[in-house]
Symmetry: C2
Subunit: 198 residues, 2 copies
Amino acid sequence: MSSDGATGDTKARIMDAVRVALAKHGYADLTTKKVAAEADVSEAGIFYHYDSKDELVAAFVEWCAEGTSTRFDDLPDDPTDRLYAACDVLLVAEDDPQAAGVSVAFMELLSHAPYDETLQGPLRRYEEFVLGELADVVRAGVESGAFRDVDPEATAAFLLAACDGVTGFGLALDMTEANAHVRERLRAYLDTVVVADP
Amino acid sequence: MSSDGATGDTKARIMDAVRVALAKHGYADLTTKKVAAEADVSEAGIFYHYDSKDELVAAFVEWCAEGTSTRFDDLPDDPTDRLYAACDVLLVAEDDPQAAGVSVAFMELLSHAPYDETLQGPLRRYEEFVLGELADVVRAGVESGAFRDVDPEATAAFLLAACDGVTGFGLALDMTEANAHVRERLRAYLDTVVVADP
């Protein structure tokens, strides 16, 4: 019933349960009952904080943005190391089934965005936030002279597309060779197109 | 009840109805009833050819592969024009809401692949087919000397990831500037990394 959602430890516990349940079941088959079971709380306990499955998932997307923000804050200072590490934040490793499951579920959430106003806002804020953070990383590298004179926003969009685009064939379909190819070509892109010659 | 599915004109009519209905409603809210309404046939008429919604959608994915195959067959012969045109086949224009809707629905189908064996096979064959076609385009350019000595499979995977990856933020969330950025950077990638200097 609360429109503010849960806070503190309760929130962390519920959000972590959403993460695990989304990775396991996807969004379509996610239920508040499954999240309650993962969090080891009653379903009423979930509904006390979130009015619906979509409000719960929207809160989860905002929570992911906070987590990604923290990971960007922790990136190394050196512009080149920072760029590589930023792409590692966005490129999910196939040997991390939990993270891969969340990535696939995020792709599912995105596919619902045109029809679901509750999810649309948080998802757009999430994508805009990531694009902005990535553009800042590129801009800092350009301004310091460590990178070529590339357009920070356009480069960020291209890098995010390449990272997001591997989720379908690389993770959902588990095409491991193609997944490895994208990672290798992305690294080559950073080396040859973005980072300046020494 | 037929396991062969519909053929000829009936098939084309039903598949086109799936395309329109998927673009309009997405996969989760797709029903055989909605497809029947779009095709202007009875729901029993759909079930005569396809046992379930998922069989119908799996047939649609195979049908899309045939359509993409035809579009690849029709590409220009010149290696560089061929590569640009191949990427245009894969990059959906935001000013084509019908095609954008199908792309977003494909992303949704991919997100169900880990849980849905009926969809998994056709989707994997589709992605492998597209990767193979794209790699052939790159390989022909490399062998003719029109392209640099890039790895055809790795380059194809990277290009497909960039094209697929714009579906989420560019189409489902309608972030038009970021969408344009990806298209512009992709073109620059083809020009500077793949195509040889004149």
